[in-house]
Amino acid sequence: MTSIINILVNGLILGGIYALTSVGLSMQYGVARIFNIAHGEFIMVGAFITWMLYTSFGINPLLCLVVAGPVLFILGFIVHRYLFKTLKDKTPVPTAFEGNSMLLAFGILFIIQSLGIYLWGTQIKGYSFMAYSIYLGGIRFSANRMLILFFAVFLCVLFYLFLTRTRPGKAIRAAAQDPEAASLMGVDINKMLALCFALGAMMAGFAGVLLSMAYQLQTNMGLPYTIIAIIVVVLGGLGSIPGSMLGGFILGIIGSIVNTIDPGLTLAAYYLLFMILLLVRPSGILGR
């Protein structure tokens, strides 16, 4: 019984991180039509900023959320404004833009990763923060992982409320459904696309901060997270934000179960699920 609860909770923790890493990617694709292969690099940057601030200056990793968030928001904004926006102006055909933007994102992936290696090397990094156990109902949990779960859920809920309750959030959703009609409502589409991309990078940054508290870091960690995020986004339904959140938790729990059988099989299980999904229900759980 205890072990089942442990597996589930571990799944939820992993799922929280997956959800957080995926909502940004989902929105970037759903609204800006950018299949951002470089998404994981923003996670890596968020994680390493936290590692650096904690190990060099002793800054509390939770405080790093308010540092890494804005830094990645601005980075995302600049990347969209100067790269994707320029590409979009030069590629008037939407389908051609989708393809070209993926190629551009590949370039960004390698540039950010190389800069990361230049700054932080290639060794595995990590630090210990709140590395003690807490007991809930007699079951042992590690404190930092519970903190990750709490903040992952909290940030997902906040993001969801932003999209559904606020003026810019509604404009983002409207722009995803019909950009031209949104512009007839007075929405500045270019600004909205940059905002989306920046928010996606920020959510990735948050995920990086959180996962650095309990998982190992390496400058090449970005791509595996991107791939998982892609699986989650397809699982949840392309462009569906609640779908990505749900998909993240489902994949996390599957990962946690497979992990107890053999950790080496986790990625293989994800891919298997991904392929089955593509064949059986390509529109995802909450897809249209």
Partner: protein, 234 residues
């Protein structure tokens, strides 16, 4: 109020509008009629900033707005109900209306405006939580019209407002346009219902193959042989 001067619009190599000139004065209801493919929607798109004209100009309240982005044009006070309504399908009725009041100045007034729209279309209030994609055709047009009023426009451009509406509703929608005019909103409308639109409008233009072929008071047009033959089937 709105002046279109020798406007030319092309899609690629195909020219669709040829030297179009027209004007809409404050407080008028002006109709634009023409056959399918004449270029009516294109003209409205060009005015609203969705397509860039090859040459010519559009002036609104004395300001040259040619080539402005569509969001900048809405800000100047032009609301545009595009062909087919173009609602946000996965948003509720209420959220669609709220999007109509997206502009900063309108957003603070959205609740008063909402009440006004609900007064005009009580049905929308009943259905405010329903997703737009689940509305019937006529309800969608109502919502599209309500949404275009949420920005508090000075000029409303309606592309086939009566599309998908039952005859009785069409009558009501046309009466609505007069109410709008009485509330200080100038109306520029495109209609398939040539007879009815000529009956409610003050003036009208006839667009054929991208050119304005006649224009003037609706009474005169209703009497002209060409309009009677080509559009009224008389």
């Amino acid at each position: 109020m709105l002046e279109v001067n020798t406007l030319n619009v092309s899609y690629g190599n195909v020219q669709v509008l040829w030297d179009v000139c027209l004007k809409v004065d404050e407080g008028e209801i002006v109709a634009l009629v023409g056959a399918n493919g004449a270029g009516k929607t294109t003209l409205l798109n060009a005015i609203a900033g969705l397509v860039k004209p090859a040459s010519g100009s559009v002036t609104f309240l004395g300001e040259d707005i040619t080539g402005y982005s569509s969001n900048a044009i809405v800000e100047r006070g032009i609301a545009y109900l595009p062909e087919g309504g173009r609602l946000f399908p996965d948003m509720s009725v209420l959220e669609n209306l709220e999007m109509g009041a997206y502009l900063k100045n309108s957003w603070n007034k959205r609740n008063e405006r909402l009440e006004k729209v609900y007064e005009i279309f009580p049905l929308l209030k009943e259905r405010r939580k329903q997703l737009a994609k689940t509305l019937s055709g006529g309800e969608r047009q109502m919502l599209a019209m309500g949404r275009s009023l949420m920005s508090g426009p000075k000029l409303g451009m309606f592309d086939e407002l009566s599309y998908g509406m039952a005859p009785k509703l069409v009558m009501e929608a046309f009466k609505m346009l007069e109410t709008l005019r009485d509330n200080g909103i100038t109306v520029f409308l495109i209609e398939q219902n040539v007879k009815q639109s000529l009956e409610i409008a003050d003036r009208a233009y006839v667009l054929e193959n991208g050119e304005i072929v006649s224009g003037g008071s609706c009474n005169a047009l209703l009497e002209s042989d060409h309009v009677r033959k080509a559009y009224l089937g008389l």
